[in-house]
Structure formats: structure tokens, C-alpha cells
Amino acid sequence: MSTLSLAIPRPVHPSGLWNWLTTIDHKKIGVLYGVTAFIMFLSGGVEATLMRIQLTKPELDIVSAAVYNQLFTMHGTTMIFLAIMPLGAAFFNFVIPLQIGARDVAFPRLNAFSYWTFLAGAIMLKLSWIGGATDAGWFGYAPLTSVDQNPGKGIDFWIISLQVLGVASLAASFNFIVTIINMRAPGMTMMRLPLFTWMTFITAILLILAFPVITVALIELTFDRYFDFNFFNVARGGSVVLWQHLFWVFGHPEVYILILPAMGIVSEVLPVFSKKPLFGYTTVVLAGAIIAVMGWMVWSHHMFTVGLGPVANAVFTITTMLIAVPTGIKVFNWIGTIWGGSIRINTPMAFSLGFIAMFLIGGISGVMHAVSASDAQQQDTYFIPAHIHYVLFGGAIMALTSGIYYWFPKFSGKMFDEKMGMLHFWLMMIGQNVTFFPMHFVGLDGMPRRIYTYAEGMGWDLWNLVATLGVFILIAGFLVFILNMVKSWKSGPDAPGDPWDGRTLEWSIPSPPPEYNFSEIPVVKSLDDWWNTKQGGNGKAVPVSGGSGDEEHDIHLPQPSYWPLVTAIGLFIAAYGVVFNQLVVPWAIAIIGTFIGFVGVYAWSLEPVNDPDEDSAH
């Protein structure tokens, strides 16, 4: 059959760059996700720094109004879609198969495709700075996104790259749901899943339900912009409030997509460094699930001033206040976990504890403006950026950083420098409070958010100056972090398999894990199986040197593949083709890209399943 000519053999033991381009090993993909997301985080940080410098004093002219508006739009979009979400994905990739006792994810090639597609979307969005990025806000409120208001390509890049990122996130989410349901080791029942795996599972479900909503909204916007439709065109009967509903029906669950993995990480770290199981495992799991359900009932609290009326505002006040309850349960259970424990404060633990403190402040300020009666004064002031940064920086970023330190020995095989880690922690704690706490004050003193400048004599000078100074403490903190990571990865002392006296399965294998993870698939007897094994409670022998043997014996592993990358490149070209649809021949580039994508999928499906090693003499 001629079609077989497409069945190009899989790459055999590629090395160097090819190894990374064709890898389908979940651990390597996790590292790719993590490094890419961290670079994106830095780019979002540069955008934030420029904004803070502009606001240091009244009436500064460091960046223009137009550039400032692009900066805050890109900062928000970058941090949410290109930094925090993929940092979560990095942990899903690296940690989940190890925690559930699997050798890889359910669909390894789809996993690689998710990463390359994410990278395509990220590159596309960030490159839109060339020629002017979007300036309609990360929330893209109609009609600011209309062609009349915004004729440039920036918005088109924003729309299409978000769609590309959506494909990546959806593919990854399906993959993780299937992995967690089907790839669990024998005995690993759902209620024995480590908390991080549980929160990932819930996050993935939230994501596949939430992303289609913004996909629809973006398609409508695309039709408005490209084909003169009227979804959001008031003059011809459209509605601008429709966009807000669609955006926040996605946007609020999205907040929990960002924070649930963080809560999962903290729920792993606290028990390990307290030598105590998580307090109320079932309650914490349920609280996560309830948050995921209730997360759909609160979206209009982003719209308290839109004029939905006091009845709607009252209802959403109540639902929003109620969602504080399961969140509070988690905080109380974390304190219950360390209570009566044997607490060792090192870098990962310090970051998790810092997370609780900062998230507590963010949670309380969240409840404060959940009350729509008084929120009319805080909505769209600096009080809100203060809140969101306590939740997403003090919350998500602190917890993700905790996770990076916690699993660093596992993925790098090296120990990091504890002193530098603690220095990083204190710089972060001081830096973020100096940066973000004053934003509460200027917000309550009436400073609206998203203004590129402010007049003298409004009473906002001092705290804006302080906030900007805080940024430089944060920058110092991240320099220490980068230095620590690079130095330790290159020349840190070798890490043992179980450096923290861990409780979950990833600590039962060597650091870094062999390609096949577990030489023998473990049989799970209890929650915190590895801990109980070490305590002699599971009637199992503890492997010597904290590893379950490292002898390779005929373990079949899926082989690398070119096609996920090719398919993602096709999507990338097609996406550019949609933005520049009138270039050369109308829509030609989009069609070419789509064709490459199809070739990729076609070849992917015909790729030999068998291990190529079998017929090559090696």
C-alpha cells in the first residue's frame, strides 16, 4: 500500500536536540513545560516591572499610554495562560505518573503534542509585540476588541493564540483524566490518590468544561472581526454584556484552574515536613471538588457594576461568600496537618507556609469585595490587583515555587542549596508584601486600576513608590532562585531517592527516576503507601537505598516520535495563516498549515506501534 510510505519509522535513541524534539517521556516533557513556563513568567515579570516603573511617581513618561495598555494586557494574559497554567502542567507531567505508579501518561504522543502546541501559542502571543500587542485587557471586553476600536493585528494574535493554547490545554487535560483513571497502579484506589493527583484530576475536569466557553466566545469575536458579524456590535443588535458573561463563565473556573494545583502541592508538602498525614484527607478532596462545582456559580461577581440589578448582585454575593467555606476548610485542614506534627522548616516547607499566609490575606480580601454593596467602591480599583496578586502570586506562584524545590531533587537528581533557597523565600515574602499590600491602600483611596498615569495631589504618591521598590526585592529574589537552580542542577550534590522522608510513591524510586520510572509496578496497600511501607505497616519489604531496584528487564516503553512536533508546527503555521489571511493568496497559508497538521496526524496514526529496536540489530 502506498500509504505505508508515510509510515516512517520512529526515531531510534535520538540524542541531543533530537532527543528533546521527539521525546514523549512525561518527565522530559514536564521539564520542557517548566522551563518554558518559567521563561514566560520572566517575560511577564519584565512587563510588570515596566508598568511599576511608569507608576513610581505621578505623571511619569517612561512608557506611552498605548504601550502601557499593551503591557498590562500582555502581563495578565502571559501570567495566566503562559506561566501559571503551564507551570501546573509541568508538575502534572512530571509528578502524576510517578505518584500513581505508572510508567508514562496514557497518551504519550498526545502529551508531546500538548507541549509543542502550547509553545506555538506562547511564541505567537509574545511575538505580537512586534507591530503592537493587543491593548484591550486580558479580559478583552467588547467593544474594545471590535475592528472599529482596534484595527491592528494585536487582537487577532491574542484571539488565535488563545485558541491554540486552548487546544494544548484540552489535549493535556483529557490525557491526564484518562491517565489518572486508567493508569493507576494496582491497589491505588481513587481515595488513595495523593492530594496533588486529586487536585490535578479536578483541575483537568474544570478545564475541559471551562475552555470550550472561551473558545466559543473567541470564535464569535473572530466572526465579528473577520466576517462582519454582530455578536458584540450594539449598533446592529449585538450585546457587549454577552462577552462578559461568556468570558467570566470561563474566567472564574479558570481562577480555580490556577489555584487548585497549587493547593495540591501544598497538601503534599505540609504532611511530609510535619511527619503527619494530611488532616482530613477526604474533607480536603471533597472541598476541592465542591470548589470546582461552586466555581461555576459565581462568575457575575466580576460584573457587580455592570448593571445586572440588585437581585442578581445579591444572589452572586451569596454564592461568592459561600465559596469561601470550602476554601476555608482547606486552610483549616492544613493548619490541622501541621498541628501536633514534627515540623521541619526548609525551603519547600517555608514556601508552602508562606502560601497559607499570603493566600489567607488574598482570601479575606476576596470575601471583602464579594459583598457587592461595598464592592461598588472597590471594583476596578487597585484593591482588586492587590487581591489577585495575593491569590495568584502569594498563592499560586508561592505554592508552585514550593513544588519546584520539593521535587527538584527528584527531577534533577541533585540537591539545591538550602541557604539560597531560604534567602529566596525571605526576599519573596518581603518583596511581595511591599509590592502588593500598598495596592490595597491606593485602591481604597480611589486609584482606578489600568491607568497609565495619575495626577499629583491625589494622595497616591507614597504607596505607588513603595510598591515599585518592592518589585526590585522580588527581582533580587528571582535572581537568587535562578542562580540556585542553575548551579545546583549543574554541580549540586547528588540527591538520594527519598531526601525528605516522603510519603508518596515518587519517593520510592531513584532520583532522577529511570526512564521506565518503576522497574516493578508497585502494589498499593494504603494512602501514603510509601510512608507506611517504610514504617513496616504494609507488610512489604522496603527497597534498599530508597529505590525499587534499578535493573532494566524488558520494560516496553513507547518510542520517541516526530509527529507531535510536526502536527504542532502545522497548527502554528495555520494560526499565523488565519491572522495574516490576506497575505499573498487569501487563506493560502492557513490551508498549508492545516495540511501539514493533517499530514502529521495521518503519519502519527500510521506510525509503527512496535519498538523499532526489535527489528534493528543493536
Binding site: S239, V240, P310
Partner: protein, 384 residues
Amino acid sequence: MVTMKNRGVFGSVFINSSRTQKIVLLLMSLALSVLAAGCFIIDPSANQSTFEPLGPVAERQLTIFWWILIGGAVVFVLVGAALIYALVKFRRRSEEETPIQVHGNTRLELLWTIIPAIVVMGFAIASINTLFYSANVPKDSEKTITLEAIGHQWWFEFRYPSPNGPENEVVTANEVYIPVGIPVRINLESVDVIHSFWVPKLAGKVDMVPSEGNHMWFQADEPGEFYGQCAEYCGTSHANMKFKVIAVEPAEFDTWLSDQAAPALESGDPLAKEGAGIFKDAGCSGCHSLKTIAKTGSKGRVGPNLAHVASRRDLAAGMMNNADGAGNVNDAYLQENLRKWLENPSEIKPGNLMSSQAAVYTDPNKTLTERQISALVAYLTSLK
């Protein structure tokens, strides 16, 4: 003993107390210093501070905020104290110790589910009254006035029903007079994107959404000048979209309204007369009207109505101040500001329509000369 005396009461108490008591004392002093700091970090006298309500709506909104702030502070201190206490008390002392493996406590967990649920519900329900109160002018008000506020990129149009019939609506911009002690209903609209109408000292904000027909109300309890600013991101010059509410005694308000309803005065000054000619010939009047223009058309409403521009305390939507400390327009300030604006409007308000669409700024052959600018300034300054 001597050193202990020098440490004062607190110091000696601190030294003599147990570890647990020390923690509690530390936490108490921390909470006190946070409260003390709170007294100077927020400045209620700041122009847009929400901590100095000067009308009933803002007042009730602040009351709610205080309650929830105190509630939040209590939660923060309690949970923070538990966290710090646990961290100090349960620090690892030896590597060998293994704490009791407690897996949970159903009663305790139920407790910290139910109590917070009751507390947050209490707050939510207690706030609903204020929510409804701030939505509509109280029905028992003896007298109310209604006016319209319309958002434009990046200025506010205000329209008052005129004493002399609908064709004589009073139209002004960026400055809204209201009578003291009388509830004012404001109907909110927008001609382009979403804006938000906010005067922190009088009431929380409500968005101006195209074709949604929102409304709000407020009342000023005493005469004064209140700062307002657009609160919803609305494009390039969102930061430059401000206005003022000026509350005056009802009698003064009536005088002001009839003054504004009168046609613009024509000045006899030759330079001003020349300016009047330029105003027509250079195309200014295409967007800026000097009389009432019906809301249905856009001609003459693209830019602010200038019928009485020289009576306004600010120029360019709160960007430049024309008034002295007492709120009286100073002609010298006004002239300087007008000149600055006419010379380069995009420097004051980046992205504004005038600099991108008016022929005198886009067509190099029609650029305003120094003389023309002086004439326009003289003319506009005469429009009291």
C-alpha cells in the same frame, strides 16, 4: 533586675511569661501595630478616598465595608495566630521523633465548615439591604432630580432636563452641578465603549454600558467639589477621563441651571470675534456645539459642548485646572490651558479624536497658526 525595669512593664511581662504567653503577647502587639499603622496609611482626605463619604450612599457602603474589614481582620488574626502558634510549638526537635499519625477529626471539621458558613451568610444577608438601597432613589424622597451622564472616549457628557422644555436641555461636559440635600438620579449611557461612572465620596461606581440603560443615584450632604473618574478600562486615555461633581445650595443650583440654559454670550472683543470665525471655518463646530444638540444625532456631540466652557473649573475632562483655590475660574489659567490643548491635544490626552480627525491637526496645510490659536483662546475664554 535593673535591666528588667528598664524594659518597662511589657518587657518584664514578656521575659517572665511562658513560651505560649510570649507568642500570644507578640501576636497582640503585632495586631495593635497593624491597627496603629492603619491610621496613617489610608488618607480619608485624599480626593477620591472611599473613607470620607459625604453622601448617604457612600456612607452606607462604607459602613458595610467597615464591618467586613473588621470581620476579615478578626479571621486573619485568629487563623494567623493558630498558624504561628503551631509553627513555634510543633517545630521538630529531634529527627527520631514521629508524631502521632492523626488522620482527621470529623467533629472539628464539621465545626469549621458550619461556623464559617454561618458567618459569611450573616455578612452577605446583612449587606443586601444596602445593595437595594443604593440601587434606586428612596421612594419617600420629597424631591429628586434626574440627569443623564453619557460616556465618550474620554470625557463625560451631562444632560439636564431644562426648565424651558425638552428642546432646551442643558448640555455640559465633565462638570456636573447638583443641589445639596436632594437625591440625584443619574441615567448612564455610553456612545462607544464601556465606561464606569464613579464619584468615590458620593457613591460606588456603576458602568456606562452601550445600550444597557443603567442608572444610579447619590446625594451630597454638604456643598463641595467631588472628584470622579472613569473606572472601567476604556482605551488609550482611560487614565485621562475625569470629572467633578459640584454640589451647591438648591437656590444656587437653579441659578446655575438657568445660566447654562441661556445661549452662549458673544463677546465684543475683536480678537474673540476673529476666534468665533475660526471656530466655524476651521471645522471646530462640526464636533463641538455651542447650543443644545438633541441626543439622537451625533453631529455636534462628538466633542464636549462648549456653550459655557469658560465657566468650567477644568479643561479636557479633569486634565487641566482652570480654577483658583476657591473654585472660581481664573482667566489666566484658562487661557494657558486652552492654548496648551490647542497646540497639541494628543500630548494631554493621547489617542483623542480631535488630534486624529480634525483637519487642523491632520492636514499640515491647515495647521493652526499662533495668531489663530490666540484668537480661539480669546473666543473660548469669552464663553462664560
